[in-house]
Subunit: 293 residues, 4 copies
Amino acid sequence: MEARLVLTLSCPDTTGIVARIAGFLADAGGWIVEAGYHSDPTTGWFFTRQVVRADSLPYGLDELRERFGAVAAEIGPQARWTVTDATVPKKAVLLVSKEAHCLHDLLGRAATGELPVRIEAVVGNHEPLGGIVRAHGVPFHHVPFPGPSDPRREAGKVAAFEQVRELVDVHEPDAIVLARFMQVLPAHLCERWAGRALNIHHSFLPSFAGARPYHQAHARGVKLIGATCHYVTSDLDAGPIVEQDVTRVDHGDTVEDMVRRGRDIERLVLARGLRWHLEDRVLVEGNKTVVFR
Amino acid sequence: MEARLVLTLSCPDTTGIVARIAGFLADAGGWIVEAGYHSDPTTGWFFTRQVVRADSLPYGLDELRERFGAVAAEIGPQARWTVTDATVPKKAVLLVSKEAHCLHDLLGRAATGELPVRIEAVVGNHEPLGGIVRAHGVPFHHVPFPGPSDPRREAGKVAAFEQVRELVDVHEPDAIVLARFMQVLPAHLCERWAGRALNIHHSFLPSFAGARPYHQAHARGVKLIGATCHYVTSDLDAGPIVEQDVTRVDHGDTVEDMVRRGRDIERLVLARGLRWHLEDRVLVEGNKTVVFR
Amino acid sequence: MEARLVLTLSCPDTTGIVARIAGFLADAGGWIVEAGYHSDPTTGWFFTRQVVRADSLPYGLDELRERFGAVAAEIGPQARWTVTDATVPKKAVLLVSKEAHCLHDLLGRAATGELPVRIEAVVGNHEPLGGIVRAHGVPFHHVPFPGPSDPRREAGKVAAFEQVRELVDVHEPDAIVLARFMQVLPAHLCERWAGRALNIHHSFLPSFAGARPYHQAHARGVKLIGATCHYVTSDLDAGPIVEQDVTRVDHGDTVEDMVRRGRDIERLVLARGLRWHLEDRVLVEGNKTVVFR
Amino acid sequence: MEARLVLTLSCPDTTGIVARIAGFLADAGGWIVEAGYHSDPTTGWFFTRQVVRADSLPYGLDELRERFGAVAAEIGPQARWTVTDATVPKKAVLLVSKEAHCLHDLLGRAATGELPVRIEAVVGNHEPLGGIVRAHGVPFHHVPFPGPSDPRREAGKVAAFEQVRELVDVHEPDAIVLARFMQVLPAHLCERWAGRALNIHHSFLPSFAGARPYHQAHARGVKLIGATCHYVTSDLDAGPIVEQDVTRVDHGDTVEDMVRRGRDIERLVLARGLRWHLEDRVLVEGNKTVVFR
């Protein structure tokens, strides 16, 4: 694939924005290979993502960033924008616990080049997963978390999260992926990693938020179970949803069967949500997302 | 299709029930063409549905009922059972309001023979739908309900529901279908029609119970919307779920788009749930269902 | 909904087309509420569909058509374009045979306003469907086709098709819908109605083209069956595909079960394909389609 | 999970088979926890799969096998049957080439215990995959296959397949999985491994059999792409289908996008098909399968 540059912009909507951006690109000879637009009638905001062939432009990433920044500034002070090089893999750090299915899946996808990502490190509180992680050439950091019966549990969690923070931040990752990490992030980390931390919740939110969602689903007798990939916010399981999917269950499925079936959905939903995030396809709008697939 | 007789049975599980039923059928020369079994490890109950070729038995429906009743009595006092003739269409009465998509769909399916049902009557509080109903050869009864600003609203609703009850009960229907009937059934009708009244709710329950589910879904930014067919109980939108399904939406979908997309799911989910009910495929187990599809 | 005008354009791709169109609309104050773009790397063609609020423009449909035509002419001689008013329902004529499920479905969707269409007439070779059609206020024309044992079958078919052609063409319809019309259109009608005639085929093409697709699917033991909505061309079941979908079957499904399950997919796929066609979302590209959903 | 024993039987259908088997199990106190039955009206064959709690029986696997064999013999000379212990993981050998996504997926599922399998070995013609395989504690055998330009290609393939056969057969595996193994098995190996060799084909068969199915799908402009897991027979891509699934694509998807999207389906379909095979849920019936899910 030839190099591609990706521009995103969101701002209050008004006539002429598309023309302004398209004109800017056309003046430079920019060849647009992919373009998404969304005008939200509820909020009055406009969103766009454009992909340009790098070799069609007379200048490189830095100058495009500078020039597009000037265009965005003209469009208005509220405009938020990004310019990135799609051929440079983004950096991710994974947080995991005991459940390994999403970890295996993401390592496999990174290895085959299916995800445009460099997994910088995996941080986990369950040592045995280290072997496979390292076999993929990725450093594994074991950070034990205090158990429910630990008398100094709160202090221990604070210390553990401080260690996690350091192990994550040293990489300045584009994505922090909670790949079935069973600890609730403290508010200051939600804040610090806002818009970069992705979680996979094992239910079709808003149904069955919180603990043991498959048990809840089994008790209610639903006919489909699901999973949700969302940005982490300090409001548990309530951040902007990036992707969801479901699979069919029936009366013959025990909770254990649901757990097993659910894993297939968790894997897929997290992998899709992460890919879209890495490809700058996800623009956050309040507590919702615009996803240019 | 040759005539088929359908047996269902549910009872506390124990060794030998399958053998007892299979032996009973084999002794009479019964040819089983379809059989479903479910043993619930949580409740310890057993459920079965069996379809037998009528021409393989030396006796008819009534005698089968009598004999199978005796077998069920031997199995235990808690055993619940049914024996029906699948070639005799069941009877249904539909309750509707303004939204006509489920009504059109069910009338069409009845007309083409796709649903094994005779629609005895349609009761609605919106006169204009009468024309099409009557064109299908089905009586339409207009029962106006008092609006929100009516000073005698409560009394008016009681009277209207009494009228609905009479129009329904005269047919002794096997199914009372709330096909987007926007009124909440009073508790005594939920009780009276328990196990026969099916509702279609326009969300993937338990998410977005109550009013305006598509608005709720839009506000939350979910990526799939759904519909749920459930038995009506006095606990609003909380009865045993018979069938559910979902369809994908994205950021570009307004509430109106969701309403439109949702209709396709409502139609399908109600039609499937109703068919399974009519074919004695649904056995209720507490607040859940066993569906032998 | 406020009035909306819809523009489509396809042409060989080159730098600056998006800017040219966006600039044209911005100069007139046009408020774009929906925009789709596609650049095909294989063929080198560009496709776009834009929806503009009518009240944001200083002129009406006719002048927009004239002005946009001038822009398209500048873009190049190969450019194909349309400008339509989305608030004016398009006109359709349905061709049907005995199978009524798609007919019932489309009549219902037209009645509820779900499809932006005025069904001008239904032409069928099976008189009994006339009653329901007329109950919907739509004229029904009965055109008998000669059966397989008719000695003058070929001549009879030529005459019948000539009658169908007249009954269709008098309405100058935007869509001619073969809603399970079991006759193969002669080449001259395929040609005459090119880009306007939509068929629903009851298989997931290219599998099981031709006769009795459910029998073919059953014999092969596939685990999903499907349906395909495509533009009619003289090459049977091989025209540009607009929409497809599938549903799960298993070893327990007889051919009759597949026929029944398949109907749900046929209904949905035809309704979606027709809606997209009516909303100018489908642009044909050789034997493929671009669908701006 | 307590130990479970699995019985399967297929034979020409006749009255009383269910009673015979159920009576046999009831006489021994057998507690049936799962039961599937299928009576095929086309072929006149009967199929069943039953799962019994081991601790409910007064004897073990070997005696059950002996006694059930006697029952099957009474039922008739054509009866085919199996009795296995579900708590003993089955053995599999994987054959792979360069494409690693199915390999990674199956290794991950085996590692997490999601698949009831012991992967005995992986045989591949692409050395670099060895590292990850060995990190999972599984032996990797590199068997190079001659390329298309090799002058002694045919002889080289014969020798390579002979080596593969030996590496596979030494394990007496219950499943030989062609996990995107790009070589066509010679007829004698299809014969030798009949009913045990599973392939994943990257199309929704029977569409796009043979080479480069995603290219074929792209050229035809289909709106869904799929994958098929089937038993290998000497008739290429035409063996009994175990599982299939599809995913949506659109005009914006290049062949490369389809390859990427398709991988998700290939992974899922192969993992499902393999699990069903390992759990004795798949009974072959001519060129079709009965799958008791």
